[in-house]
């Protein structure tokens, strides 16, 4: 057992004994850093934390005594002290020898107080890791020197990156078990480097350590690793910038938690400042109302403040009586966040029950709570390979990207810019469970950021000159159902009627506009999105647009519908049973799909979601293409 240090970076017992007041004075100016430790099962997370607590004397004699006896009973380190037992608190996990939940631990050094979230390595507990990571300034990713970068290392790194942790430490642990071999260390770092770059981690700090023996934990350049000249783990933890400092340099935002009104003469808005700074005299804006006023005072129990910054809980009074309540956001007047009700978001599913597409969940963001629905995921991410896969829903521990629609506008910022203004949870309305964590990426209508250039010749002018009403006839159906054939017939008939039309065909578009797209789920969705945008521009130009795409998912068709003016989108369901389409097999694709040469083929190994309420349905078993075309024309007339 290592000698417990008394005069280390942690605390100076001599000073405490001699001059407690000057010791306290120093310690009142400590800052705070929150970090998480994660890694694979048995990488030594709990041992490392146990070591940090032990070295900083956060373990007391009686705990140590209990620990020694526990170590002999259930420990895995023979007669030596098993630090992991300190951290693995719950009885269930002591029996199983694994950590099953996030445990929060605390220790101090001369410079900082640290809050450590010990995150479980087991796959099924991804949700706990995301929980621990959400408040962390830094992540320590542990790798067993004997095993190198494992699938779980990759997963945890990806999750940390996803949650937006910028400070990543790659701690190559158990160096004592590889004889402190530099080549082993270098190899692991190189391997991790390649992976980090792949997923977009810009930088990380690698260090060789032994949690069990104590190498490079508190003191740098341990005798055992003369080849390592970087900082010790604790030195590094003391030096990195904390999140609230980063947030303080951003524009002012404060979600209003509570309106403080003790009497008619006082009306204060209370909240935790999410970002930026504020001082009396500043012009602020309340969102969503958009009303502006001037900060009169920043009121606290300890007197009025000259200024306040991100991370402080304050109460702000304004010069004017403006409408502002819980859920609103006070922000700097000339640089307000966006307000929107449709978003693209990255979701981490946290519940045993799968996500229900289209079901209403409570969405809580800052102090705003609204009802929201999640559309079918655009894709989910395989956290082991980072591949984007097709998904109909999200299950426990799944990560995916989906559109989220709220029933009221939300004041927000992209998560990458502001964690508080872009991070949200979803709550099941029946069970009240927290079912998902989400990060808003952007609003679907970015009108707040991109200003629309007004043009004098409007879409009404364009349509008027053509003497027609623009429409999008969106043909959807299985491959070989007859979409292109019927659309072509319809266009011919419309041309004879002097209508200005354009037919966007799936195959044709992929020769030009979308030739960069493949057939992955994400690409197929992007394919449809672009076609939707083009169709929209064409309706602006006054055209009647016909599109022929399988477009198997309701969510994408819904997305296009939502891009267009009301009543402009006409969904034409070309209803052909799979057997019929497969028998026709005009392009020989079904045959390929059946033999496994073609993956993700709609109807075979990828679903087709038939429209629920299409404006028009044509049955190609009962109708010829010509009859179908006539029927469609009748349905859309008069077109003026």
């Amino acid at each position: 057992m290592t000698e417990q240090t008394t005069d280390s970076v942690y605390r100076t017992d001599a000073l405490i004994a001699e001059d407690i007041d000057s010791y306290l004075e120093t310690h009142q100016h400590k800052t705070m850093l929150r970090f998480i430790t994660c890694g694979s099962v048995d990488d030594g997370k709990s041992t490392l934390i146990g070591r940090l607590l032990y070295d900083s004397k956060m373990i007391f004699e009686d705990q140590l005594e209990a620990l020694s006896s526990d170590s002999k009973k259930v420990g895995t380190q023979g007669q030596e002290i098993d630090f992991a037992l300190l951290v693995d608190g719950l009885a269930a996990e002591r029996e199983q020898g694994i950590t099953i939940d996030v445990a929060y631990r605390f220790f101090n050094t001369e410079k900082r107080k640290f809050i450590v979230a010990d995150c479980p390595g087991h796959e099924q507990y991804t949700r706990n890791m995301v929980t621990g990571a959400s408040t962390a300034d830094l992540a320590v990713i542990l790798v067993d020197a004997r095993k190198g970068v494992l699938v779980q290392t990759r997963r945890h790194s990806y999750l940390c990156h996803l949650i937006g942790i910028k400070n990543i430490v790659l701690a190559v642990n158990k160096m004592d078990l590889v004889d402190y071999d530099q080549a082993t260390f270098d190899k692991i770092v190189a391997e991790y480097s390649a992976f980090a770059e792949e997923i977009g981690i810009e930088s990380f700090t690698a260090m060789p350590i032994s949690g069990f023996k104590g190498d490079n934990i508190t003191a740098a350049s341990s005798e055992n690793t003369p080849w390592y000249d970087g900082p010790s783990l604790v030195d590094h933890l003391e030096g990195v910038e904390v999140l609230s400092d980063v947030a303080a340099d951003k524009p002012f935002r404060m979600p209003v938690q509570w309106v403080n009104r003790p009497n008619l003469d006082f009306r204060g808005f209370s909240g935790l400042i999410a970002s930026g700074q504020v001082k009396p005299g500043d012009t602020v804006r309340a969102l969503p109302s958009g009303k502006t006023s001037t900060v009169k005072s920043i009121v606290t129990f300890d007197g009025e403040l000259d200024e306040a910054q991100a991370g402080q809980s304050v109460t702000i009074t304004l010069e004017d009586e403006i409408d502002c309540s819980r859920g609103d956001v006070l922000c700097v007047a000339d640089n307000p966040p966006e307000t929107a009700d449709q978003f693209e978001a990255t979701l981490v599913w946290l519940n045993d029950e799968d996500m229900h597409v289209g079901r209403g969940y409570w969405l809580k963001l800052g102090t705003q709570t609204v009802s929201a629905t999640v559309q079918q995921p655009k894709y989910r991410v395989d956290v082991n390979t980072m591949d984007e896969l097709a998904a109909k829903t999200l299950s426990l521990n799944d990560i995916g990207v989906a559109e989220v629609y709220s029933d009221k506008p939300l004041v927000f910022e992209p998560y990458a810019d502001n964690r508080t203004m872009g991070g949200f949870i979803l709550v099941d309305k029946i069970t009240n469970a927290t079912v998902a964590a989400g990060m808003l990426n952007f609003s679907l209508r970015r009108s707040q950021n991109v200003h629309w250039q007004a043009t004098d010749i409007t879409r009404e002018h364009h349509a008027g000159m053509k003497n027609q009403t623009p429409r999008v006839l969106w043909f959807t159906g299985l491959s070989g159902s007859g979409k292109s054939t019927i659309a072509n017939e319809v266009e011919k008939k419309l041309a004879l009627m002097n209508r200005h039309t354009f037919l966007l065909d799936g195959d044709n578009v992929r020769h030009g506009l979308n030739k960069d797209l493949g057939f992955t789920e994400a690409d197929r969705i992007e394919n449809i999105r672009r076609v939707g945008e083009v169709a929209r521009l064409m309706t602006d130009a006054g055209l009647i647009v016909l599109t022929a795409f399988i477009s198997p998912f309701r969510a994408e068709r819904q997305m296009v519908r939502s891009m267009l003016e009301d009543h402009e989108f006409i969904e034409v369901f070309v209803d052909t049973p799979l057997e019929v389409a497969e028998e026709r097999d005009v392009k020989g694709l079904y045959k390929k799909a059946r033999s496994g040469q073609l993956k993700n083929f709609t109807g075979i190994d990828s679903p087709y979601e038939a429209p629920e309420n299409p404006e028009i349905t044509v049955n190609t078993v009962e109708m010829t293409p010509e009859e179908a075309a006539d029927y469609i024309i009748q349905q859309i007339l008069p077109l003026k």
Binding site: D21, Y23, H29, T31, D62, A91, Y104, K113, V130, P262
Partner: protein
């Protein structure tokens, strides 16, 4: 021009944020007030959270009738200073059966505190209760959420806790269910002491050393706060010796071990705390009741 906030400033801001969230989202919140130093800090934070208004919820003391006299004195004063209503609840069954720490052992805690708390919450219909527990106190506490959800029978299921992300707290619950909220979860004992010093918070004088009447019982050192009552339940008058003692934690006087100490000022108490090598809860008998998993088991049963 921004200065990095100190750890105490950040802990304070976090606690105030939590307290305000509960006030905004719960239907009928209450602050559990045990008169100890952690409660004192929590009450102080509540005052700060709503200043210049008084906190918009009452204080609740789940009483065992066996607390130190000095605690009862401070209890009334603290509530009055904060401008808050003080509710005191004593389990009528425990009272009737004369449950006491000597004759009834673990039943004392179970009846007065665990049962008493459940009854009080049901009696008043509180759906959210603030508690001053900290994660550094004990192993199972380290894993508890800030918003700790309890079933209608007040049980805690450590495997079924709601994930808690960022500073977003889910306060939704069904009728009859309740939430225990721990605003100072992330504080350590030293943080609490430093904050008390910095903010000049009034605490029970028992935390400071003074000559007090003490007796030895089953190897522990206790204070004879109410000698007549002790004699009544112990069946004999314990041997009283005056010693210079103080308390690291406060509960029922026959269950709370004293430590011999000369630390009579806050600085000295902090000094002693820093240099000490035994953990805070050692003075309490409760953790050892059920072997290694004492507290965890108690919490599943509904203990705070």
């Amino acid at each position: 021009m921004t200065a990095t906030l100190t750890h105490l400033q950040r802990l304070e801001a976090e606690a105030i944020h939590i307290i305000r969230e509960v006030a905004a989202e719960a239907e009928k919140p209450v602050m559990l007030y045990s008169v100890g130093k952690d409660s004192a800090v929590m009450l102080h934070l509540a005052k700060k959270a709503f200043y210049p208004s008084p906190p918009p919820f009452p204080l609740l003391h789940v009483d065992t009738t066996w607390k130190f006299k000095a605690m009862y004195e401070l209890r009334e004063k603290a509530a009055q200073d904060a401008g808050m209503e003080l509710l005191v609840y004593q389990n009528p069954e425990a009272k009737e059966r004369g449950i006491n720490p000597f004759d009834h052992g673990p039943l004392h805690t179970d009846m007065w505190k665990t049962e008493g708390l459940k009854q009080a919450l049901n009696h008043y219909g509180f759906d959210a209760a603030f508690g001053g527990a900290r994660r550094d106190e004990e192993k199972s506490r380290a894993k508890e959420r800030v918003f700790s959800f309890r079933t209608a029978s007040h049980g805690w299921d450590p495997k079924n806790q709601r994930p808690e992300l960022w500073n977003l707290y889910n306060a939704k619950k069904k009728k009859g269910e309740s939430i225990r909220v721990f605003p100072i979860s992330n504080w350590t004992e030293l943080d609490v002491w430093q904050y008390i010093q910095l903010e000049n918070i009034e605490i029970v004088p028992l935390y400071f050393s003074a000559p007090r009447p003490t007796f030895i019982y089953e190897g522990g050192l206790f204070m004879a706060d109410d000698i007549e009552r002790l004699e009544e339940v112990m069946g004999e008058k314990p041997e009283i010796t005056t010693r210079s003692v103080r308390f690291r934690t406060l509960g029922c006087f026959p269950l709370t071990g004293a430590v011999e100490s000369e630390a009579s000022t806050l600085s000295e108490v902090i000094q002693e705390t820093l240099l000490t090598t035994t953990s805070e809860r050692q003075g309490r008998v409760i953790d050892k009741d059920a072997g290694g998993a004492g507290m965890e088991k108690k919490k599943q049963e509904g203990y705070f």
